[in-house]
Symmetry: D2
Subunit: 422 residues, 4 copies
């Protein structure tokens, strides 16, 4: 590893102190395939972090890679602003045929700057424009991005402090189960809305993740999501589901909100939508909300055509039928069983097991424990990360394409790492 | 063209009304090479817009393409968050050796989310954090991006109105030559700073483009930029040069501020930094400003490794010596001469010719004229766009690799388009 | 009454539509004494509103009047900015001797512009300056004033909408008993403070009324106030008690928070502090918070010396011993008994009886009922007003000097008004 | 003086450090009559500060005092919220007959909380409500008050810093002569308005003082004010003249804007409107702007009836004909002549003489000089104060009723103070 050399590396000398993952994972990575990453010295890791959910189909997925290479080789348009291209058309048609129409959705598709934060910024701007109101309600431990608009609806105090200006026009509400089931759902929210003296003006929208990944793998119950959708309808607020991390099959179905049977007004997608780790982001909204003027929101890289190509290939490969969803749920059960076994074995240390599909969290009572587990796992050949406001949760986001054997292998490493850091 | 078909296209039906360039350029593009783009029917256009400055080395540049294909074929890491990778190391070393060190710059490199707006958001956050002040000064007709922080320092009223909330913590000042030379440089700005009763608190920073591309190809004089750098130093404000569109050689030198001999505290780069139109963005800053905590600003796609590969190849190919700069300046003179000839021939209509390097603007008295010129040019096989607050300027941003013959060809089309829309 | 004349009055023609009380009480008042007001036609009303709590010692209190006339006759300084005057000295010494010292308070006294809103603005500015944080927590149905800073911590949606700009830097929390006792005190507030991912940054301060007068006569329990004081101490937030309406003996003790045994960091006083209805306001704070620079907050009328004179006389007359407190509590019991009798008689209509000392509220199920009661009471010779977010509560604020006979008389009128509007 | 006693006074011990005038004028004042103030030891001062403009008719004006005593003695309503009263009717009729109608004004009258800041807050709220826009333009060195809304349009950096939150929704523009006549009036302002890319959205309103008292006695030329009124009309912005300090005859005419022949949309009055130094404030506006809902802006002390009584008496006594205006202008000439003589004698030290009517400023090159002059004048028996962003201007605001002999007496003291501090 470079860190063993006497001289500081170019990363340490030249790259900003803001760098983060490279600290916990002190290796110089070179290649990757499927669920495995290789460093320059040939060392190999199982990757159960998957680009923070950006690699649902694994690293350098072979099918997608072929489509990408073909496109690049034939000099297909690479950078296309928001021009119409054959690659974009193929994506739009496939997204319509395999994603929207089968789910009865008639949402319009907006290609935003290719980051989840930008998709969220566009969603917030549109909601405020449509409703003519400023306030957006977000939830405790939400994460929606680091640009000023997205950061204002993000809960993490450390991230918020980086803004350098007060973050306004947002109000946090308790996420599902915030009080351990002791308080009726939406008691506070609904009361504030109904009380003309509450101090909360009518919000333009509510933005929610169905599973809070960064926030600690907090899973909203379907009935809570339905209650929220109903609340939004009754109080004329738009419901924005930020599916940047949990969409594209992470929880089983393509959209994470399908299980609850709700139809959000606005949906954001990024991370795994291109399927290959290429930057791409979408904001979807009901057609009657499409009040944008041409160019009112734009961005140089909103037409990343190679990403459209891999995105199309990913949809064709994984979403033409229900196999991916079924497989994800089955593999999720495997993960859950392994985590519950770990929890049972380390009952004094483990505070909880939470998850859906292939996103799982293992919470520890001792707030430093999760970090120690991840550090030990790295040594043992497994990439996993912490989440939660105090990094108290080990988060698992293996590629959906991780084989059962690989899952078992990684889960064994995890079990060992927990045991060795107890 | 698709617009001639009776049935509305999937773009019209499914894509949001926010789409923009596809309206002025009603074709479905398929392939591109160098300075030429081809639609699905085989029609060809000379592209003098170059992805709004994201394609300084042309479409699908052959050298960069080879490096990219090699990297993808060998399963180099595609998505790397901010992990250390061999591709990132190669980029950092090359950027240091060919860009920073030869120019005597010791700036740290921050990989932000891969959009110019995100690089700007990071710059603004850092400046406010370092100085502990909120206000950032921007300039009339500035364009810095569409997320909430970047939009607040953007001048365009139409874009600003999309925010849905008041845009605050920014104050506009007159850009160079805003009053046609009748008012002393920085008269208003310096007076406000020096007057304890002016109502302007001390700003954290000033953000400026050396040439305002979106704002109408407004070119700041070197002495004005030096005056601004001096003003910032004297009043303890950080100087942020947003080189997203004008950097990477667009004006001749790698950084657009080199001609003025100034050293900004913070620099943003995006658009052409990857060289191939792949999303990538950087924020550079003096080492003493690197007060970020690990992960205090992040983003899923800040490690777009294929972009690092093409970026490295682009630096190696075009910036190992001074040839690109010389060539750009020479070709710029060719463009200028042609534009001045057009202006001379259409003295009643043309309001001005402005530019540096290979960014040029042709302003018309009749505010609708520029749009008509661009529309006619499209029909004649040339892609150009308008800029300026009322779209009154034809903007030329040909790839720096456009050959003299191609330049002449395009400029002839432009001359014809002007003549035919007079 | 003027409203019966054919021609519109000068009030209707010349005064702004913002006028309010004159609509519900269509008379032209001329004289007033104690608890009675007289219109120009000699009609008389018992006044159980007392200038919204500004006339705790009644109209034109004879003792105070004598002091005021003497002062004016001898040409004592009337307008004194914040110059030292003999009248101010007398007030300060008396306030120290009769109010602060006997209660063990060492608070500094700031004379603000002579309105409650201004005292609140000063309190908020000081809290933010001391703590270096922006957010101030207020409570559902709080009322703190109409200037921009005070309005931001006021709950009423109708009042807030008048701001014309988004009201920021404030967060509402549930006031005592907001959920009818079903939710643990401060559950939401404490959880947000303790959760680093909650989205609530550490507030600079909490501002609270011990009894919310405008908000519907909501009475905080002493244990809730103690819990709040404890919460503020543990989380390093300043506790501001806005005693503008409930101070000066309205609830029994001089300060409304005495009963709870808490010592706020900051206290605002206005309304009845001058005792005679003359504009005057104070902000009190612990000495260690006195970080103001000279003149950092000012106001032309902060030295209303005639008000100092009547304020001094009021303290001397009513607060040299504990008689006023005892008397208020005794008369409050009389009011409560009468209200409970009304409630018992009209069990289907009356939703609740609430109060402390001599502030009482009678809530009706039918939201329009309270307004009808007040209108009928006016016809019957009693001035009372509604409060609450939907004007659903009849509020009683008789002068503390109202005699038992007058109380009985007014309560009989009230009973009749309720009966006749059932 | 109290400051010579060994023990700290109650002012020093108990009153907040925010106290200000009492520091420069270390005396304990007791009585006052006309233009003279007396301390408790019988020392006398000529008062050329007049309560910062709140005492245009002198201290304890005999005519007004008689009216006030009569009203108080007969138990006229003292505190009346916004009830109709005979005192208010008399004021409204007199204000209409002597002020509004003779000047052709049909403005509605709003009684706000009795401070200038509150009148400004009401004006800003109304302007934003009417126009549906947030931004209000103010001017360099403006002073409009200390509550959050008013402070945002105030220029002074020291005062602004007291807010504790960023002050937003306001933009400063250069006041008349800010560049010493070298820049065309409104060049910057008009350019920003006309340029769709300037970064300045359309403001709701402009707020201006015709003479900036706190800002350093900066006098706007009539043609500049006319230009501003024209600009506001052309760009659909409301023109608010803050006449709190310069109204009520201070500059000659009743309203300070009369000389320029303009009719503001909104006017604020406070300070001398009651005539006796009693707190009272008004906001006037064109009838079509009266979109307030009943009670949408309120305030406990907006019905200070004793102030209505003295206000009515002041109008009757001083504004029934044009004598006051003529006399003020004549006495102003006397002051100007004396100041010009001082300036001539101390040409090296005096930087300028500025004023209108009976508000005058004497600016010194040495920024500390004005403070020394005021300190010496105090010792010599004259109360004057500094103004300007660095307290570099001696400001004279003698009561309009100051006799020619008193004026001469004070001006001689001033001349001596200047000479002795040279």
């Amino acid at each position: 590893m470079t860190t063993t050399t006497a001289e500081p590396s170019v990363f340490e000398v030249l790259e900003s102190e803001v760098r983060s993952y490279c600290r916990g994972w002190p290796a110089v990575f070179d290649r990757a395939e499927g669920s495995r990453m290789y460093d320059e010295d040939g060392r190999v890791w199982l990757d159960f972090f998957a680009g923070a959910g950006a690699l649902n189909y694994g690293h350098n997925n072979k099918v997608l890679k072929r489509a990408l290479l073909d496109y690049l080789e034939r000099d297909g348009v690479t950078h296309g602003l928001d021009m119409s291209t054959t690659a974009k058309r193929a994506f739009l048609e496939t997204f319509r045929d395999l994603v929207l129409e089968p789910r009865g959705l008639d949402h319009k598709v907006m290609f935003t700057g290719p980051t989840g934060a930008n998709a969220v910024e566009a969603a917030l701007k549109l909601a405020r424009k449509v409703k003519g109101r400023e306030t957006v309600v977000s939830f405790t431990n939400a994460f929606h991005g680091m640009s000023l608009g997205a950061l204002a609806v993000t809960g993490n105090a450390f991230k918020r402090a980086g803004a350098g200006v007060p973050l306004v026009h947002s109000v946090p509400m308790p996420f599902d189960d915030y009080f351990g089931g002791t308080v009726e759902d939406f008691l506070w929210f609904e009361r504030l809305l109904g009380d003309r003296g509450s101090g909360l003006g009518r919000p333009a929208a509510v933005i929610v993740e169905t599973v809070q990944g960064e926030g600690g793998v907090n899973v909203a119950r379907p009935e809570w999501l339905r209650g929220l959708a109903d609340l939004c309808r009754r109080w004329d607020m738009l419901l924005i589901v930020d599916d940047v991390q949990m969409g594209c099959g992470r929880t089983g179905a393509f959209f994470s909100f399908e299980e609850a049977g709700i139809v959000p007004d606005v949906v954001t997608l990024a991370k795994s939508i291109s399927g290959y780790g290429l930057p791409m982001a979408l904001t979807l909204f009901r057609p009657e909300l499409d009040v944008w003027e041409p160019g009112e929101h734009n961005g140089t890289f909103r037409g990343n055509n190679p990403a459209f190509v891999t995105a199309t290939a990913a949809l064709d490969t994984y979403w033409a039928d229900g196999q991916t969803e079924k497989q994800t749920l089955a593999r999720g059960e495997r993960v859950e069983a392994a985590l519950r076994a770990i929890a049972a074995e380390h009952g004094d240390e483990v505070a909880g097991v939470r998850g859906r599909g292939l996103v799982w969290g293992l919470e520890f009572h001792d707030k430093t424990h999760a970090s120690r587990v991840c550090a030990r796992a790295f040594e043992l050949g497994l990439l996993i990360e912490t989440s939660g406001p105090e990094s108290e949760v080990v988060k698992l986001l293996p590629p959906l394409t991780t084989t059962p054997d690989e899952l078992d292998e990684g889960l064994l490493v995890l079990a060992r790492a927990v045991a060795e850091t107890a």
